[in-house]
Symmetry: D3
Subunit: 245 residues, 6 copies
């Protein structure tokens, strides 16, 4: 059995229920899912400043999840904030996040992919992630929608229209063979969009969740875990205690 925690790293629980429902709909029979969010904090993470504020809370949640026996945690934001930090402190737990999972899947599905973002502001930080993941030559384009995180489910018809327009441009003009939804809150749209554009449209909630189930299985069967050498070497418990961290 895989116990998986989805973390909405924002100070609101309004996305918890819909995401929990989505995950319960698609989980493997033996997977047990929990969705949590932060008690307080910014309501979206478009700014690095907001991210910096929530990363310590994310890491605390992950530490306590590990104590409670969780097998995996997903940091539910396409910036993949705190991913490497969390892998450092996780002893036996799998940590993943949307951009990593979506890009791995997209790279398997086609030669190049485009990422639909909310705003132009998102592009530099996402590009850093693309570059560090080695996927730069597989990126056809970023396609900003001009929408904020909280706009996606107010007027869903308008959002669908705009998604269709940008996805079509990506495929027809930019040479994308796969479309990645570059925000977890763009959930609920991938199927309609996929039918419309005729290429795989990777959803930023479903992809990392399934990737987490996959990685948990690798961990349980083969002991494949985030390497504790160098990049994800854990801080010594003695220091953490001594310094009251």
């Amino acid at each position: 059995m895989a116990k998986i925690m989805w973390i909405n790293p924002v100070g609101t629980d309004i996305f918890d229920k819909p995401i929990l429902n989505m995950l319960n709909d698609v989980k493997q029979p033996c997977t047990q899912v929990e969705v949590v969010s932060l008690k307080k904090g910014p309501l979206h993470l478009d700014y690095r400043y907001y991210e910096a504020l929530v990363v310590p809370d994310i890491l605390n949640i992950i530490k306590s999840a590990e104590k409670q026996g969780y097998d995996a945690a997903i940091i539910g934001c396409f910036y993949d904030l705190g991913l490497k930090e969390a892998r450092e402190i996780a002893e036996k737990m799998i940590i993943t996040a949307p951009a990593e999972a979506c890009m791995h899947i997209a790279a398997t599905m086609g030669h190049r992919f485009s990422i639909i973002t909310g705003r132009e502001k998102n592009i530099p930080q996402m590009m850093d992630n693309v570059v560090l993941s080695g996927m730069k030559d597989k990126l056809a384009s970023f396609k900003p929608l001009g929408l904020g995180v909280h706009d996606y489910h107010k007027d869903e018809n308008m959002v669908v229209q705009r998604l269709k327009e940008k996805a079509k441009e990506a495929v027809e003009k930019d040479g994308a063979e796969v479309v990645v939804l570059g925000c977890t809150i763009q959930f609920g749209f991938f199927k309609e969009l996929q039918e419309y554009v005729g290429v795989p449209v990777i959803d930023a909630v479903l992809a990392p969740f399934k990737y987490a189930e996959f990685l948990v299985e690798l961990k349980d069967r083969f002991g494949w875990l985030h390497s504790k050498k160098n990049a994800f070497e854990a801080p010594p418990a003695s220091e953490i205690t001594a310094w009251n961290l």
Copy 2:
């Protein structure tokens, strides 16, 4: 239920049984596995010439697997030969292969990985795959063993010693945080090696098999399949018929 075919793309069935046993040991309950090899052909694929000879046979196997209702096929050689060709002709089937699967997993497990190959001869072609997959900056080193494909299970003690030596060098000198076994016939060694070097050692049979199960689930649940736009666009049936291919 996932029907998955493992193809040993060589003209010998001596590896079929051990690989089938391995896969049956680790498969998900509903997965059904078959392992096939070629009726005739080279007994290993260290040369591009040998690969060229077997690719048409691999593609024929895949076409008939698709007709028989298989969900996925794995081309069981770390050169990933025929992978893109097979994705072109597959209509609904997932195709994967060892290098792709191992590199995706290794990139998730650490900052850099080394690939243990049989011979120096393997490096240029494998490097081409590394480069095209975007993983060049994640590669710490290739570590050739000086062994041929058919040497791995003759004197297993010697092989284990050599693997340990090369894996240790990779981790201690080259900065690898993960070790990838760069030949499917290096099967059976990953656990001992993993305990010895203390970092994840990715097995070239288990990794693509689990990756195939994962991709089949994505296909079944979300319709995420190899994009049929551009790179994997299928040749028209009319041409195939007209030209008697």
Copy 3:
């Protein structure tokens, strides 16, 4: 004297005569040219599947050409399919192909070049070749014509118009200083196009043919041949015999 074989790797001989004529017109006095095609097989190679089917035939032709004393073979398709495989099995013979030859020449003629392809489908595979050859930063753009291989000589006026339009765009908008014709069957157009756009237009038949003559001279005078170390190491004759390949 240089004996050079041009291989049209398709199951039709309709291009053999015009290409033979072209080559005889431009060959050095001592060069002897033959053009061959396949007895059966696909009539074009837009798909990797078609390529996989013909590579074994290409390699057989090359092996027998070597026995007949040929100095060089040119694999006449801009995908350069089978090029590395052929270099593996060639003992003393030069092997070249259009993309390699055109890109080397174009890189010498200007800072950046554009490649005019038939269809968008061609781009991902050609891009792989561009990347592996190191020419990615020298590529200004791909310019797909929206034409199939067998369209080039049906309505040549239309083709010339479309070539002019794409070549002009490449030069004026994309910053190309050289234009490469990215299909051997775009033969016959380079001169008119070159006059029209005012930059060198590299023909995909003439370029590899002249490159082959050049390489044969290097071989004869200096013994410079495809290195038999690693990448092009030949499969052992003993294996080929033992396995009936």
Copy 4:
């Protein structure tokens, strides 16, 4: 007059005095320097987890420094943690950090440079910074000393010996033309080392401090500030208030 704040982003003030003295020794006449550290927190930042814990504190210090009229802040750790976050929230203030400053200077001083780090653990994160800064081809090597942050000033003779050994290796074996000290707490050694190896040795305290003075002058004279478009766009004050951040 330039008011510049050096932040030692650790929960100890033991480095404040020596760094303040160093900076006062080398500042321009009109510069006013303050050195601050954190009230609590980890005593070094070798782990991303520790960094995550202190970034919010760094950002608070920077916000209040801006209110107090500081012209610049330097985040005093070679990981450059929080640099981009701080540039987002700074309205008129310059923010810089050691790796950025040292690499710019080193790139001006020679063709390639090596970075002397404390531990191998530091390399992956520092390499991410090198890659994102565009300096990967200018990096000759990382040279880990096998020392922790608090080891540098216990037995300084031993440290000098080890620094000399690694710096010499960098210059003689790795082709470095410049040496960068990859930890702010390696202060006090650059001059002796520079004389010993005969190439510039860039100090990780002095370099970003002088770079800050330089950038403040650019700001005051020409209004050149971190661009508030995209990457460093500031979060809206209204959100910060509404969400009590």
Copy 5:
């Protein structure tokens, strides 16, 4: 005190006075500035041929400047011609140039920048500099104005209009967060342009001048000079004498 020489490497002194005035307006109190140009030579440097003709003169000026006790020389053309040559022969003097200085500053100011050039002709050589400096991924675009060096101050209103148009395009379409003026003779426009586009506009005269002052201070205080190992190793005086160079 810093003695800095600005070299206008062209055979006309018409730019000397305005540039001297600009530099005197912005220099640090103790800096002493001289602006020189060539006695004869081309009136602009759009062509590599013209550059080749003036580099020996530039190097002679620099050698004699060093004898006269100058601390730094700036080679005042955005091609940075002769920069590496000059660093070779300089013994104690700092040498810098516009492209280097502007790109370092621009990279600190934002994620990506665009360079406004005079003509398309300028792009290939400038791109070589961008690539060699490691800044390729930070370059959003080149924006040629379609103007020659001597057009900038004939009809300044027209020039301002064109600069505004290109800078706006860079920021709004190409994703630039910073604009770099890619010709020293585009002086006098940066402030108006900066206000208009709302992002930093880096001037190609002011940037290298301030960078020179900064580097001189590093030299004087810390002995950081262009490394004399490998790239900037000086030719032996004995050879220069023996060969009458």
Copy 6:
């Protein structure tokens, strides 16, 4: 008939005779060869300063060669100095140089090559050429001999021993499949070395000479010349006259 000029861009004619003899031995029947050197100037070009001094002379020679009806000029130094400048001013003439020619040939002969240089000093500038030519991933290593240009033919036995040692290291340790002699004055050794290491050894005199013959034929038959768009656009004759250049 092809008239080709080899330029030894140094102030000594001691290499003219042996190179002329070499070229006459290997030229095509209709090729006519001349070898020239400079009346005065440095006796080798290990320093960029020396290069800067001779480039104007090289360009003058090329201009007058063009007037005398030469078809091609080869700038005979592995730094390829003045190559782009010369292509700018050449109207109808082919210009080539050793590094370009050797790297194109080496890239065709194997997966990776090593370059044997005289001194470490040569590496940074040669690396710039490697990077700009797109060949960085094809470079296995530089192998400096620790010899100056005038050492190659004093004690040839010693030189051969050292070449063999470095070439063997390149092939056996660095993974080179081809060896490039990175100095024109390493002439006379390639055959013995090639036999010794068993891989192609590309000579820096023969390679560009044959490449020039090849390019002249392309020019004569197809009109393929250095593009006069952008990078090699020629300076206007009117300016050259008006400015007395």
